[in-house]
Symmetry: C2
Subunit: 112 residues, 2 copies
DNA sequence: GACTTATATAAGCGTCGGCTGACACAGTCG
DNA sequence: CGACTGTGTCAGCCGACGCTTATATAAGTC
């Protein structure tokens, strides 16, 4: 599953935001998400699984609880992709890229 | 449609990468995408529409051709969301956030 | 060991997004 | 004007994903 597919779901984004506030148990996350989205405990558990399986969340067992926290792997992957385009709105990073993107290619390869 | 829903599709991501190389006509994009993904012209056109409608691509007519280019609006929105988490892997940006994330909250609100 | 709590898994179902094929429409060229 | 090219739209189909209910598993408590 691609990083953006994971982030495409609003529930999963919310869960990550919750985890950004610090490690939280599955129960804590479930309580909040359940209230905000009106979905069941299994639904939340399934979302947590997706986050785990795709490098967005770490888990650690503590007794019967599962403590979740942010795993940066997935987020970095998403960030790396977006990074390809950063020069478009932060031209100082690479002014040349912007110039190229502007229309150089269009001019060369058959533009007006 | 949320930015990450737009980016969740591999065809749309590819189209954006193509546009990152400079303005391109719908036909040029279609030719490449068709070859790489084996989908029809209408399929590509529909993806272009999604990109347009969600602030990921600009269009400009030139005769019968439609010239597409990157619109940063959508990309910046995606970047802004990811930015919430950047401190997790670039601690220098905000060392405090990392500390908080680590377990401070867990300790306070009922951790071990 | 029986009960309860915390969490995960499984099966089934509905919905939504993407694809195709058919078509519409604009512009260009003879 | 009529044919052709480039592109967009529409209707319908299909598969994937997310949800629910039911159930399994594991850990605590008495």
């Amino acid at each position: 599953m691609h990083a953006f597919d994971v982030l495409g779901d609003p529930v999963r984004r919310r869960i990550l935001e919750l985890l950004a506030g610090g490690e939280a148990s599955a129960g804590d996350v479930t309580a909040t998400v359940r209230e905000e989205f009106g979905i069941s405990q299994p639904a939340v558990s399934q979302h947590l699984r997706v986050l785990r399986d795709n490098g967005f969340a770490h888990v650690r067992a503590e007794g019967t609880r599962r403590l979740y926290s942010v795993d940066v792997t997935g987020l970095r992957a998403a960030d790396a992709w977006v990074d390809q385009f950063r020069a478009f709105w932060e031209p100082r990073l690479d002014a040349l890229a912007t110039e190229v993107a502007r229309g150089k290619r269009a001019r060369r390869s058959g533009g007006a």
